[in-house]
Subunit: 530 residues, 2 copies
């Protein structure tokens, strides 16, 4: 047993767990990582083969304002490259008639109502996001109201045009790998804030999808292990029990094989839902027991089709397509030197739940057909290699990308998400306050949990637990410039008010809608009265 | 190891697991129950002491149409008694001014709008519930629409009066131990159907709360164990691993202490969220992995205040109070012979999440104060004994009463809830199609899973797996008689149409609401156009 005593034991060797381990190791502490799988990386997972060199089957993209993961990568000697967005991008919310092809980062819808509406959705999203305190979203003045609503309800309320509605549904699916009706509006605004606003969150250039790691994102965790020592990790060791002696503070951690490890300080660096796999003694507090049942993982299948040539570039497409179909987003995944031409596709939310029941052969065929249509080339039908990962089937992640909160969870249970349980601290990207759900959030959470322990050990002050990060010099964040028109563009209701058409509309609407709608209003009045 | 081979192994010794065990034992099979706790009963848990004799700290009530649990109780010699509802009942949705005291089962609201509105809510609830196929709610023609909505959205839409709205919120909280915004409307209608309609579901007399078991509900599981033999159960044995050899069909089940058991047929009789505590090899299918993250348990604290006298009866109160306050429902829990005067209180949903953070002393004091106000007597402030159970803190239930589905879960994942995983079958009240969430559902699910195995063994035909149950002769279901007025009472919009006031209303509303509402309508038109 004496070999099994460590200063700190960390459960889970994803980016959050390994980031914590690195910091504690640098402090001179003896850490041990217990990992359920036979590999590090968690939701970052890089496959390697001579034909495609390397490919990220999980989390992959980084960009400006994600300064912690950029600093970590630099420290470890992992370089980044920019995703190709030179040529034209495709947006297609519905059938072929909704296809929009454009250069640059802003779609050029011609219909002024659609432009007004899209502009308004983004503006309101950012305004609302700015109202949510990152570390305590439950304290937002609108918390109760927003946490009782689904994102779908909000979309139905705020969008006036079908295009803006479909676009916002796709965006939601894309960001959360879940459907709008599954997500609390408060959580949605908090997450938007955590990702530095909607433009930063969804953009390729200058946003969260600007870059990838050369060699793949799993390299981060791998290089950390190389640095701290391979003896600091035990693979195939899913934790089943965490016992704490409340008198002497000794924690005994048992893995599925019955092996036991002792420590005085532990970090859980797994997704909230995976905490339910462990028995705690003393048990987790009631709110935590119920919280971890209420943060389901998103549904994502990530696929890669390899081709002989980057045929899409020849048609002046950059490979990026945001669609309401089989893949919510496709991107060019060709290596920076032009080798291994590849389109990656993210199938997320409901489409992923359908795809998970398909054979690999069927997935490959359907995706190829989809790309042939979108990129207008039969060459898409002839991939030379196919590789995908169905994250729904990963028992030790539970899904991807992130634990998502349905209505009511954040206000009723959210406040206990980071509260230590005795000497067990909680990391994992879901516990982050900046870029939660991303690799950046994983680093923030892992380092914060590590510093909670350093504080408990008397090595740092309490005020040092939470640290801001200086901006990366290599990947600076540029402002998103609004044109004068964009800034002053009204919303549709604002536009209608501006036109002073209100009286006319009252009369017109009364005729158009008959009484049904008016009755709705009388109803609201009655609700106030009785 | 030879001692550890059994015909069937059942995980979980609640009512569902023990019901399955009883049936298989009667078939001559050698069963073994593996129970995580040191007791049987699961979410039924009866405390015993000389002062209060016995008290149900968990599931407790039964009533007409719950024929399986009534048959089971009769077979085991467990008798029932009727809950006292002789005197006057109290309804209080909000502050003291909303207090309504009435005799019988229907509240006598004087405001005709409230009567119309309450009547309409119940009518629509039952009409919609009747559209949902009990075994396949995802096949309901309205499934997609309803599963994208929360119950809160529906309440806001359908209720015209504040009273009906508050009443429906309390009702929802009471039935699910969760808040309306946490629940899918499709799940809500399915559950209503499963409970035989809203009146049957919520009524005391002639409904789900008509009776209790003499000796307590845990007696059911205890008597089953007495009958099949105490050697057929292993306590303190939480299962951590279920390995199936797909070649020879042998299942190896490992408990937290490392003990292993072998079988060819297994039943999991635990709540869906608890399946995440076990590692399956081969793993559960992707949709099941994600389903079990999406069925969080309700939040309930059940409390009992014992008094010297049934002081409330002296004031012509029957002890039943349905409120929007600290307890959603209080009921008389005095023993049938008049001994142990007691008020039980169910604190559910958000109030339970607050109460879980209180000390026992604070709970007792606040509850006593609450009853003093509600039952208009200072005697309530002087209980002679207090006992409660906070189900949020029960690691091996995860909450009470039942796993509840947020929007999107039933249509995307629901269909796999009962699908066997190799030779592992799924019971537990959440998998029932009649009275899901109740003891009746637990029996139905347990016996159905047992018969799946009997079919797999060639002992019965496939058509015999699902069985209907003859009506109990002792507890027959009476129809709920609607008075002629109730049957023909219109909804508020119907009433307004009837009055032909529509034209007047259009004009009036246009003035009253200004343009905001009308703009909403133009917005909907625009949504159709673009």
């Amino acid at each position: 047993m004496s070999d099994n005593i460590h200063d700190v034991i960390i459960i889970g060797a994803g980016i959050s767990g390994t980031s914590a381990a690195k910091l504690l190791h640098e402090e001179g502490l003896d850490v041990l990582l217990l990992e359920a799988r036979d590999r590090v990386g968690g939701r970052t997972y890089t496959a390697r083969a001579p034909s495609f060199k390397y490919v990220d089957l999980g989390g992959s993209y980084i960009g400006p304002t994600q300064n912690r993961i950029l600093r970590m990568a630099k420290d470890l000697g992992v370089e980044t490259y920019r995703v190709n967005v030179k040529e034209r991008t495709i947006f297609q919310t519905g059938g072929p008639s909704t296809k929009l092809v454009f250069q640059g980062s802003v779609p050029n819808y011609y219909n002024p109502f659609v432009v007004m509406d899209l502009n308004n959705v983004c503006k309101v999203m950012d305004e609302c996001a700015a109202m949510v305190p990152p570390a305590a979203p439950w304290d937002c003045p609108k918390a109760a109201e927003w946490d009782k609503m689904t994102v779908k309800e909000w979309i139905d309320k705020i969008c006036w045009t079908k295009t803006a509605k479909e676009w916002t549904i796709i965006l939601t699916r894309l960001i959360y790998a879940a459907e709008p009706e599954e997500i609390s509006l408060l959580y949605f605004f908090w997450y938007t804030q955590s990702g530095k606003g909607i433009m930063r969150l969804v953009s390729t250039d200058n946003g969260g999808q600007e870059r990838k790691f050369i060699g793949g994102s799993q390299t981060i965790s791998e290089k950390i292990i190389e640095r701290i020592g391979k003896d600091k990790i035990k693979f195939n060791s899913p934790v089943v029990k965490v016992e704490q002696n409340t008198d002497d503070g000794v924690i005994i951690i048992t893995t599925a094989s019955g092996e036991q490890f002792k420590t005085n300080h532990a970090i859980s660096a797994v997704a909230p839902c995976l905490l339910g796999r462990m028995t705690f003694d003393p048990p987790l507090p009631p709110k935590k027991i119920q919280l971890i049942q209420r943060v389901p993982m998103g549904s994502a299948v990530k696929s890669h089709l390899y081709y002989k040539r980057t045929f899409w570039r020849e048609k002046n497409f950059n490979g990026m397509a945001v669609t309401g179909g089989l893949v919510s987003v496709a991107l060019d995944d060709t290596k920076p030197d032009g080798s291994c031409p590849c389109i990656i596709g993210l199938t997320v939310g409901e489409p992923a739940r359908i795809m998970t029941t398909w054979t690999k052969e069927k997935r490959k065929k359907r995706l190829a057909e989809f790309y042939a249509e979108i990129f207008e080339s039969d060459e898409a039908n002839h991939p030379i290699e196919y590789i995908d990962n169905d994250w729904l089937s990963e028992e030790y992640s539970g899904g991807c990308y992130v634990g998502v909160m349905p209505p009511g969870v954040l206000t009723s249970f959210g406040s206990v998400i980071r509260t230590p349980h005795g000497c067990v601290h909680f990391a994992g990207t879901e516990t982050a306050t900046e870029w939660a759900g991303y690799m950046e959030g994983a680093v923030q959470a892992g380092e914060r949990a590590a510093r909670e322990i350093m504080y408990a050990m008397g090595k740092i002050n309490e005020s040092e637990i939470w640290q801001s990060e200086p901006e990366s010099l290599d990947v600076p964040a540029l402002p998103f410039e609004e044109s004068l028109i964009e800034k002053h563009i009204p919303s549709i209701p604002g536009f209608l008010r501006f036109l002073s058409l209100s009286t006319l509309i009252v009369a017109g609407a009364a005729i158009l809608m008959r009484n049904r709608s008016i009755i709705e209003q009388v109803k609201n009045k009655l609700t106030d009265l009785f």
